[in-house]
């Protein structure tokens, strides 16, 4: 049998406890390897998509737009323009003669029809090849329509998702500083890198409200163009997740001198820790904030912990594998699983960095498999090797787990359950519990064979 791991990929896999970690990453996906990764365009789309009052026009042939139509669970409390799929749907003539005219006409038509507050124009692979001058068209349309029309240079082949994040941040940064900030409170933050999946941002915002912190802009979940425009007024930027909006925070820091900290709203410790960090930041201007935050955390935990304990009883000792987009999330998840008494045996990521993996190696148990940019064959081999009970990943990983008779929890951009905050932790525990404890696993071939084997062995004695 051929091995699941290609020679060229061996250095992208590491087992903790077996020598120094020097994992190769940030590499182009290998041809023919059935990578789980997407493209630059995907990265930009993920980040900008939730801005709900902007027009998101994909300049390219139809596929790129169609496959990203409303696939995220990003909710909006108001306009829902983001849930539509707009494309210039390039045809052969456009590919031959260029698509600029069509792009212009499309913007004209769509901006009149929907009156968005801004328009993002995403370039896709073939636009890069045919050489349409997106910037020029956007400049012209900005003038003509009186709203910002922003090119997002996201040709798919120019790297991986990460480059897409940067392209998105660059586009957004053009909006920052365009609105008045005179009424912004000195105790204020921007929430960066949260996409309001299943309304998660509303949970987090509620905590800040209780702490007395104003949230100026959600970037980008439940996002608004105007809020991005005044985001430079916030005293502090909170950046969640490893990479998506970090660049924007850096740009704001550089130009407007506003600091940022990295936070996570997943799991008990990280959620509490993040709130404390914010309280700490503002305690000089508002000394009572620390107490308020402590009360909040205490209050939430007293509600949460007894419930968690009930789930923990069932879940103790079960084994988890996870494959996530950015590896930052993996840290939080690892800790969250410890609260449930579960063992994490594999952590993979699409776009982790060397530092991320090194840090992961530190907090993970010995023998944990760390893997960069995996594919179905590798993932299934690891699931089997570690005899995993539940797999955490995205839509593409789900059928791999299910086919092998392993529970699955969707923890991707497409999830429809709120998993952040203390409430989210409870949802998470519940979801993991229902993934692991369902009786269906006793019927799947992998388990039922084992059961019959045990019975057989018992009978032989």
């Amino acid at each position: 049998m051929t091995s699941a791991i290609l020679e060229e990929r061996k250095d992208q896999i590491h087992r903790t406890g077996q020598g120094d970690i020097d994992i190769a990453c940030n590499r182009e996906s290998l041809a023919g390897a059935v990578s789980q990764r997407a493209c630059v365009f995907c990265g930009s789309r993920v980040v900008l998509y939730p801005i709900a009052d902007a027009l998101h026009l994909v300049h390219g042939p139809i596929g790129c737009a169609v496959y990203t139509w409303d696939i995220r669970g990003s909710l909006s409390s108001g306009p829902e323009l983001h849930r539509m799929s707009f494309s210039t749907d390039l045809q052969e003539v456009d590919v031959i003669f260029g698509g600029e005219k069509k792009l212009e006409a499309a913007l004209d038509e769509l901006i009149d029809r929907h009156s968005p507050k801004a328009a993002f124009v995403y370039s896709t692979c073939i636009v890069g090849i045919i050489g349409d001058d997106l910037e020029a068209v956007c400049r012209k349309m900005t003038e003509k329509k009186g709203i910002p029309v922003l090119p997002v240079m996201s040709e798919g082949f120019k790297g991986s998702k990460r480059e897409g994040y940067l392209a998105a941040c660059k586009a957004m940064f053009k909006l920052v500083g365009t609105e008045d900030v005179s009424d912004v409170s000195p105790i204020s933050v921007n929430i960066l890198g949260d996409f309001n999946l299943a309304g998660e941002i509303w949970i987090v915002r509620e905590y800040f409200r209780r702490m007395g912190v104003e949230v100026v802009a959600n970037i980008t979940g439940d996002g608004r163009v105007k809020d991005v425009g005044r985001s430079h007024g916030a005293a502090l930027n909170l950046v969640q997740c490893s990479g998506a909006t970090l660049d924007l925070a850096k740009m704001i820091k550089e130009k407007y001198g506003k600091p940022f900290i990295r936070v996570s709203y997943l799991g008990i410790e990280d959620m509490a820790e993040s709130l404390y960090q914010v309280a700490d930041f503002f305690k000089d201007i508002d000394p009572n904030i620390v107490q308020r935050t402590q009360d909040l955390v205490k209050d939430e935990l007293s509600k949460l912990m007894p419930e968690i304990a009930r789930y923990r009883k069932d879940l103790e000792g079960k084994k988890v594998a996870m494959y996530v987009g950015g590896s930052f999330k993996a840290f939080s998840l690892l800790k969250a699983f410890r609260h449930l008494g579960m063992k994490v045996v594999m952590v993979g990521s699409q776009t982790g960095t060397k530092e991320d993996y090194a840090e992961l190696a530190q907090i993970a148990d010995p023998g944990t498999i760390l893997v960069d940019d995996a594919n179905p064959l590798e993932l299934s081999a690891f699931i089997k090797e570690k005899d995993v009970d539940v797999f955490v990943g995205g839509v593409k990983e789900r059928p791999i787990a299910f086919k092998m008779g392993v529970g699955f929890c969707d923890h991707n951009h497409e999830r429809k359950e709120a998993l952040e905050g203390f409430e989210g932790m409870l949802n998470f525990a519940r979801e993991i519990h229902s993934s692991v404890m369902s009786p269906v696993w006793s019927f799947v071939p992998r388990r039922s064979n084992r059961i019959s084997k045990i019975i057989k062995e018992a009978g032989n004695e």
């Binding site: 769509l110 798919g156 082949f157």
Partner: protein
């Protein structure tokens, strides 16, 4: 003048909002998945294949491995040949496939990669290895839809694998168009009961709807055997489903090159189109239709009678792939549902004529037929159309919800319901299950709209 009339003259479209079609390599990859031991391979950048896999997985809920040549910036400029070759080698190493089905994407078509030439070189360079079959199809998305990719892949499979005259036998070839896994199983049953050996190409019934397994299999079992494809030239006839097919298809190619008579019929949806299938099967096999189907047919008519009042005169909007839409129109016309708008995202497929032919003598009125529509166009007309029902894939949900009318989910993709791959559309049983669904949707709406809530309807 009504708005609807104006739309007829709607000139070149400018932008697309919520498209009613998918891109070409997706269709090709799906078709390749229906061949034994095959793995689909997209020649382009990584994003396309990842997106399409995700999209397909959400419908079938099965692992769908599609390889990609994962072109980067340099390849995009200097040509993707080296990556394609390397990709094929890697796929061979890891998957050990019998066939690699290579579909080009917009990118590689635009940069002008000549895939047949690259494959020719590949075969020469690596002729000492045990090579899988390499079948390629040109599938730029800016030239068509996923259906063009599907039919193109089927045609390529036939042309590139069935190159010699096989010994004549009594088998038939069936090119079933893009139908569900359950449909293929139904088709297989029918052929078995006719006691005719059939090469159904492609056969996604197992490869995209496999049982729970102990281990992850690299390539699911099932699919049309390659050796059967190679023998298609010896079959007694080909039956291909579709009234909107191009001039050049797998069936046509077999007829031209090997004289295998090609019978082109519509997708067997509803009574008459299914009759056509059974008539054709009787003709090519010389076997009378088994009694079981006479019974099924009778039951279907019985149901039509029992339910006719609930659905007569109801106004439906139908959308999706051109041949599916034609099949639906044919079926709906039989039960007295008036199709007010029939739309497809494809262009230049002769949808209007296909519908006119399929509904001739039964439909009381032709629907407005639209090619190249998106959901925005459909919505634009919908208000005046005053539809009672929408019938199509699940991407119309948003609109059905807005208009507060039922959506009957058929075809691909079904992303917001469970069991899309198990929907039966074809044959008498398929018609019956569609009929039940439609009648029940009407009844349910009646019940929930009423403040009395009758228990007998």
């Amino acid at each position: 003048m009504s708005k609807v009339k104006n739309k007829v003259e709607k000139a070149n479209f400018v932008s697309t909002t919520n498209a009613c079609k998918l891109c070409t390599p997706l269709g090709a990859s799906l078709a390749f998945r229906g061949v034994e031991g095959a793995i689909p391979f997209q020649h382009g950048s990584q994003g396309c294949s990842t997106y399409m896999r995700r999209y397909i997985i959400s419908h079938f809920r099965e692992p769908v491995d599609i390889a990609s040549s994962a072109l980067g910036e340099k390849n995009a400029i200097y040509g993707g040949g080296p990556n394609l070759k390397k990709g094929i080698l890697n796929v061979m190493k890891k998957y050990d496939p019998l066939l690699i089905g290579i579909a080009t994407t917009c990118l590689t078509e635009t940069i002008g990669d000549d895939v047949p030439r690259i494959l020719f070189e590949f075969r020469q360079e690596f002729g000492d290895l045990k090579l899988p079959e390499l079948v390629s199809v040109s599938s730029p998305s800016y030239n068509g839809t996923h259906m063009d990719g599907w039919h193109g892949a089927v045609c390529s499979l036939v042309e590139q694998l069935c190159t010699e005259q096989a010994e004549k036998d009594d088998s038939v070839n069936i090119l079933p168009n893009m139908i569900s896994c359950e449909d293929i199983r139904e088709l297989r049953d029918i052929c078995e009961r006719f006691e005719v050996e059939a090469t159904i190409l492609p056969d996604i019934s197992e490869t995209l709807d496999a049982p729970a397994l102990e281990d992850y299999v690299k390539i699911p079992t099932g699919g049309t055997p390659i050796k059967s494809i190679k023998k298609m030239s010896g079959a007694s006839a080909t039956i291909e489903f579709g009234r909107c097919l191009a001039d050049k298809t797998g069936g046509v190619a077999l007829e031209k090159k090997f004289g295998v008579k090609n019978h082109r019929i519509g997708i067997p949806m509803g009574l008459r189109e299914t009759d056509a299938l059974f008539d054709t099967l009787e003709e090519v096999t010389g076997t009378p239709t088994p009694r079981r189907y006479e019974l099924e047919r009778g039951r279907l008519i019985d149901a039509y009678v029992d339910g006719h009042k609930y659905v007569f005169g109801k106004r439906a909007i139908v959308y999706g792939e051109e041949d599916l839409v034609t099949g639906l129109c044919s079926f709906l016309s039989e039960i007295g549902v008036e199709v007010v708008l029939a739309g497809t995202g494809a262009r230049g497929k002769g949808l209007e004529k296909a519908i006119a032919d399929a509904t001739e003598g039964v439909a009381r009125k032709m629907p407005i037929v639209r090619e190249g529509v998106d959901f925005h166009d459909i919505a634009d007309e919908a208000e005046e159309l005053k539809a009672d029902l929408m019938i199509g894939h699940s991407k119309g949900y948003k609109y059905a919800k807005a208009w507060n009318i039922p959506l009957i989910r058929v075809g691909f993709p079904i992303h917001d319901r469970f069991g899309g791959q198990r929907i039966l559309h074809i044959g008498y049983r398929g018609a019956l299950s569609l009929f039940d669904k439609i009648v029940n949707a009407v009844l349910e709406k009646k019940q929930s709209d009423s403040n009395i809530g009758y228990g007998y309807l």
